[in-house]
Subunit: 191 residues, 2 copies
DNA sequence: CCTAGAATGTATTCAATGTCAACATTTGAT
DNA sequence: ATCAAATGTTGACATTGAATACATTCTAGG
């Protein structure tokens, strides 16, 4: 039922049981199995959906008349904001829960499209600025940069900070102005 | 029993059941509960241990006569290498599984010590280079940088790459020379 | 050495979960 | 209206985290 697919969006501690989901959806425990043969398939569906949202978000963010540098930053910001808006999706997409994407064609395709999008704008930047870098390593480091921010913010969220308040304060500062933080991280590329 | 504590180290898909662990240790299913009131306590123990290892690794890495820039890079490399060597620990330490550390004093303290260590060398760098930055944001971004590399490498490990080979290739390149990658990420700080 | 109490281990039980199979109901196209 | 596909339900099963009550081992103080 489509109820499940909409309930899919109910971002919650994914950890949430299939049965609980079903119960909450007002149907019986094994109803979901009509739609998803296994729990992992349900999660794969969530992941696929996540990649679609991310793709659209980035597409919107980079479809401006700004310079490539600014569009590059905008992409980073969009990436991080997506993670904050959809932490469960993000966790599925870039965590190790789902394992190898090859098992799920739709997920795999959606991921490929997102990856291609990011790599494309990154190559555009390299070209425009005439950067002399190992392109593959560059792509990986860029990705790691935004992923690091996104991951830290989503994971450390709601941690008390008492005692190691310095570290938590630094995270809070990052989260309070994401654009500034992305800009700081890619400092040397934007100037 | 201490067997459990040593078996703790057996890095495995943490997801592994307590019972399986007990079985593998050759004791009965509920024996572990003598040592850890709950599963989360066991995991908290693992996390604590992880912070100790990380602290020692970084301590070793930065105890050289090199310049602050080089020691800074060495810290980043040590951080990433720790994550690769102990992915389960890392996941517990910086994922959201354990939730708020305040619930476990030892874990909390170990984490604080690690955080302080990282923040200290980062402050040293800021001072030495006379950087004019928001220190808190700077700390967060630095942390996010190394965390991003570590997280991507540990999570994407063993993903087939067929189809979106560009993205996977970029990760592979990063993993093949971690120091170069960390250097590229903190480019502007090291030159 | 002996014994009391702590530390450790076991057996048994319970509720929740993922999965499956057999059966029932709804729905849409012909 | 009919029939097949889609969807939902009930009941079962094995596994898991957890709790309780009972048994064993170890160790320190007399």
């Amino acid at each position: 039922m489509r109820l499940a697919i909409s309930h899919i969006e109910e971002e919650g501690t994914e950890k949430l049981s299939l049965r609980a989901l079903a119960r909450e959806a007002g149907v019986s425990q094994s109803a979901p199995y009509r739609h998803f043969p296994t729990q992992r398939c349900l999660l794969a569906g969530l992941g696929t959906q996540g990649f679609h949202i991310l793709h659209k978000s980035i597409e919107t963010a980079i479809s401006t008349d700004d310079s490539i540098e600014e569009r590059f930053i905008a992409m980073g910001v969009a990436y991080v904001e997506f993670a904050l808006a959809h932490p469960t999706h993000y966790h599925l997409m870039f965590g190790s829960v789902l394992g190898d994407f090859s098992d799920y064609e739709m997920l795999h395709n959606a991921a490929s499209r997102s990856f291609a999008q990011v790599i494309e704008i990154q190559q555009e930047l390299v070209k425009a600025k005439g950067l002399k870098v190992d392109e593959k390593r560059f792509a990986g480091v860029i990705w790691a940069g935004v992923h690091g921010i996104a991951s830290l913010l989503t994971n450390m969220h709601g941690r008390s900070g008492a005692g190691h308040s310095n570290a938590m304060a630094s995270i809070k500062t990052v989260s309070e102005d994401i654009e500034d933080s992305v800009r700081m991280m890619f400092d040397h590329l934007v100037r």
